[in-house]
Symmetry: C2
Subunit: 183 residues, 2 copies
């Protein structure tokens, strides 16, 4: 028997879309502010589903789950991860602050915290704001956030695609959760 045999669909132990909301009610929350590319938004839904993201606020011009381009990269994850549209990221942040979330904007700013293993405190509620592909998170939204987090980089560009950057942050939060080591 080839021990490297790929897992079949049933062997992946996927949860149902119906169970997702209940199982992942205390996961990470994302706030997408004026994200331009529907492909990026869909990609973030797909990664969010993989790591139990609880909710995605789609703010400003960010497209909605009925967008065909979003669906091409979300591959159905837009049906499992709950989401809602709000006019501004400010509305989302105000709602989340009332619920006790720490709001972190992903941005290369002067006093940003560098993301690293064990950055996220287990049991604490976090929401991450992800900005526009060109402009980043708006200055107004950065001012509303509790802090900026930055992914340290060492190359010639210092520029990550927002869906790739989101994947890294979502992954770090996921690892901080109780259930991660016991999967």
């Amino acid at each position: 028997m080839n021990e490297n045999r790929k897992k079949t669909m049933p062997e992946l132990n996927r949860i149902s879309q119906e169970n997702y909301k209940e199982l992942h009610k205390d996961g990470l929350v994302l706030v997408l502010e004026n994200m331009r590319s529907a492909f990026n938004v869909g990609s973030i839904f797909r990664t969010g589903d993989g790591f139990g993201v609880s909710f995605i606020y789609l703010c400003g011009i960010t497209c909605l789950p009925d967008n065909r381009e979003l669906q091409k990269t979300a591959l159905g994850a837009e049906l499992s991860v709950p989401s809602a549209h709000l006019e501004t990221a400010r509305e989302a942040i105000n709602l989340l602050k009332k619920e006790g979330y720490t709001i972190l904007a992903l941005e290369q700013a002067h006093n940003s915290h560098l993301l690293y293993s064990d950055y996220f405190v287990k049991g604490k509620k976090y929401a991450i704001v992800l900005g526009n592909e060109v402009e980043g998170v708006s200055e107004e939204t950065i001012a509303l956030a509790d802090a900026c987090i930055e992914i340290p980089q060492v190359g010639a560009k210092h520029s990550l695609n927002v869906a790739n950057a989101a994947s890294i942050v979502i992954w770090e939060f996921f690892k901080s959760k109780t259930y991660a080591p016991t999967i």
Copy 2:
């Protein structure tokens, strides 16, 4: 003064494309096996640049850096991260094994190692094989690899975009390197 002020281009301390190869000669190596989407390949170059990937082998049908779609998502990173085309992933793996690399295929397989913090041993040389978007890494290539690594997931899909999955693996390797904590 607003301490959350975004960093300007000079403040990002980007290295030059000329210095990249020398500074990142002992970074992670990637082997892309028959990757279908030029956008994904370009995206992997961009993330690779951010975290000092040393070399990318573009195998089989994987497109080359002169591809216009690749350039749209690589945003110039195809000029800093060195790469070469080979007909098969097997050729790349054989070359890398002779140079002392541990070869890991990113695949959901039966005896795969679950990726986690501190998976990568500092100072050890690693190459990661990333497969086709639909078929994954080929069975032949999995058999040639030293092990499979798998990113644990808890959602309804158990399916990450290959560029997002690559970002997570590249990030975990990056953190294992000496320089990461002192940036």
